[in-house]
Amino acid sequence: MSTTQTCIRQHRSGTRGTERYGVGEARGRRRRPRSRSFDDFYLEHRDRIARAVALSLRDAELGGEAADEAFARAAQRWHQVSTYDNPEGWVYRVAINWARSWLRRVRRERDRRPLLVSPTASVDAVVDVDLERALATLSHDLRSVVVGRFLLDWSVDQTADALGVPPGTVKSRLSRALRQLERAMGEGAP
């Protein structure tokens, strides 16, 4: 079996969607009963998730697009997503994954078109303030943790669920992110 095939199988045998976001029995949690409609969920969380994704990606337009795509997927399978403890986390992660895939495609595309000049600026970049500049110094992974914890106000466990990493990883990333932000903001201070 090839390596790639092995990877696929490992992936299949790994955590499934129902085991993430706090609904798997293995994690000692129960599905929570469906208590709200998708419409309510969307209206309540869309902008918040979109902004969080935008901050994570540092691209407002892509953030909105990715959030909408993720919400569309959530709508498709709302009967299941709604049972998750943290459906916002699911949406957030789907949005991030979708956006990163899209960005990969764009990158490949540009690689294939070397004759075309590079874009001079991202579209609709978030507002340029000290904090935003500091955030920009973080890697995507670190930024996602910061956004999850401090913008979305998720717990470490919720952030871990949403990002698909162990809680310990969230903590270590958070620690590194804080140190880095501290330095970056300190450098930017008058």
């Binding site: 090839s2 790639t4 095939q5 696929i8 199988r9 992936h11 299949r12 790994g14 969607g17 129902t18 993430r20 969307y42 209206l43 902008d47 979109a50 902004r51 969080a52 994704v53 935008a54 337009e61 953030g63 909105g64 959030a67 909408d68 569309a72 997927r73 709508a75 498709q76 399978r77 299941q80 997503v81 699911w90 992660r93 789907v94 994954n97 895939s101 495609r105 490949r108 595309e109 540009r110 294939r112 078109r113 004759l115 075309l116 000049v117 590079s118 874009p119 001079t120 579209v123 978030v126 507002v127 303030v129 904090l131 935003e132 910061v146 956004v147 401090f150 913008l151 804080l178 501290e182």
Partner: protein, 496 residues
């Protein structure tokens, strides 16, 4: 620790401020619902036959083994797909919550690049179909060992690439159909095959009935590598493709490269219809309306369409083929739809999708149109001269009559001696192809080709200008078949 608390507090406040200043657009529940429905529709379509292409590649099954007449008269596309050898296929498993949220796109390349293509062409009298052979890959019949290919191909394109579909969706709608598909012997589940279109698949497609019926819509094109996955084809519901060999005499393995002259512009129509850019063309008594998601309508009147050769009789009762009319585009973040002129200073055929790309890298776009070129070497092009922007290339005619082509097939703008055009000719269109630039001038009464290797020729079509003009005015679609040996033309009705 106290420092951390302070920093965390600062972060919470700061992030909230920054986030509130981010314009992520207006969320629209209706739009998301629609998007979900489209996804659903697309998945149903995709589940109709996933894996056929992949299996063709995996098993090296030649499409020449298959036979059968074309079944859909709307589909009269000259096309080819060199899947007779092996096509790089990336097998990926998706369509589950876990995959959506996880690393579902991991995959394995399980094929090889196809061999070099050869050319083929067919010329048919006006009003008649070129003699073509249907490539056949029929409804997948699934066995324990995988799909059995039988005849009558339909292909679909999804975000993952090219899909062969069968139409018997029930085959895959049995419960959690995707996951119930049998595995291929290689251990890769034929759940979803993403064709790596780079240099691999050459295909011409046609849209299903709907907003852009009877309009060729797609080139998934490899080799020289232009176009392809930059196109948001995943948003095209109901897209169906049928492959045909260009002639009965050609290699049954379909080693041909073909392009349809009408192909690329119509793509935008479908893309618009797909809603990615929020516009759905709708023919009515006044013309063709583009309606965006917010309900705003922009209209291209029948008179305007007639100006660019689209007669209502070709559109009415079917779906509009408005690509030759005008593009109404909206840059992400902009509220208003704008018109991109067909050939102006810096304007041209710009598909919505391409505009995204161009908008970031080539053309500064604002307001009513494309305003400024930042294209490398653009100084060689004189403002006001014909400039045609197409997916894959930008073609400009310089004052000295030569061409500048910015595309992927060479380094820097490719300079080509211009085809011998009459002094007073008006360039009607320029179709960049991997083999050269096909120039249609004087309203379609003339055709010339300029090739990258600087061989300029007038096409000897055996068709005089008068005949050409008559054919064009009669509404026949003209298909240019670009092969290794040059360019030939097929004439025939695209739709019945």
């Amino acid at each position: 620790m106290s420092d951390d608390s302070e920093l965390q507090g600062q972060l919470r406040r700061g992030l909230a401020d920054v986030a509130s200043s981010v314009d992520v657009g207006q969320g629209s529940l209706q739009k998301v619902r629609l998007r979900a429905a489209r996804r659903q529709s697309r998945q149903r379509m995709v589940t109709g036959g996933l894996g056929v292409v992949g299996v063709v590649a995996v098993f090296g099954i030649s499409v020449s083994m298959l036979s059968g007449p074309g079944s859909d008269p709307r589909v009269v596309v000259a096309g080819s797909i060199p899947v007779s050898t092996s096509v790089p296929i990336v097998a990926a498993e998706r369509d589950s919550e876990a995959d959506d949220a996880g690393q579902g796109s991991s995959g394995a390349v399980v094929g090889e690049r196809p061999s070099a293509t050869t050319s083929a062409a067919a010329i048919a009298p006006a009003g008649q179909e070129p003699t073509m052979t249907t490539t056949a890959v029929d409804l997948p019949q699934w066995t324990a060992d995988g799909p059995v290919l039988t005849g009558g191909t339909q292909f679909a394109v999804t975000d993952a690439g090219l899909m062969a579909i069968g139409g018997e969706e029930r085959l895959l709608e049995d419960g959690d159909g995707w996951r119930s598909l049998p595995r291929t012997p290689g251990g890769v589940k034929p759940m979803e095959y993403a064709v790596d279109v780079t240099g691999t698949v050459r295909l011409i497609g046609i849209a299903d009935a709907g907003g852009c019926a009877a309009a060729p819509v797609l080139v998934v094109h490899g080799g020289e590598g232009w176009l392809a996955e930059d196109l948001p084809l995943e948003s095209v519901p109901g897209l169906r493709l049928e492959l045909r060999a260009a002639s009965t005499a050609m290699s049954p393995t379909l080693e041909a490269v073909s392009l349809v002259e009408e192909l690329v512009p119509d793509l935008g129509c479908v893309l618009a219809r797909a809603g990615r850019w929020g516009s759905e063309p709708e023919a009515n008594d006044d013309g063709v309306a583009f309606i965006d998601d917010d309900g705003a309508t922009a209209m291209v009147t029948w008179a305007e369409l007639a100006d660019v050769g689209v007669d209502r009789s070709l559109v009415d009762g079917a779906a509009p083929s408005v690509s030759r009319a005008r593009w109404l585009v909206r840059r992400p973040g902009e509220a208003q739809w704008s018109e991109v002129p067909r050939t102006v200073d810096g304007g041209g055929y710009v598909t919505p999708d391409r505009l995204t790309y161009l908008g970031q890298s080539i053309v500064s776009y604002s307001g009513a149109g494309v305003r400024r070129l930042t294209l490398t070497g653009a100084e060689e092009w004189t403002e006001g001269a014909p400039l045609v922007i197409r997916p894959g290339a930008i073609v400009g005619l310089t004052p000295d009559g030569s061409w500048r082509v910015w595309t992927e097939w060479g380094a820097g703008p490719v300079s080509m001696p211009g085809p011998t055009l009459p002094d007073d000719s008006t360039v009607f269109d320029a179709v960049p192809t991997p083999r050269g630039v096909v120039v249609v001038f004087d309203g379609g009464t003339g055709v010339a080709v300029a090739t990258p290797d600087a061989v300029t020729q007038m096409l000897d079509l055996g068709i005089d200008a008068e005949q050409w003009a008559r054919l064009v005015s009669a509404g026949d679609r003209v298909r240019l078949v670009i092969g290794a040996s040059g360019v030939q033309i097929m004439l025939g009705m695209v739709s019945d």
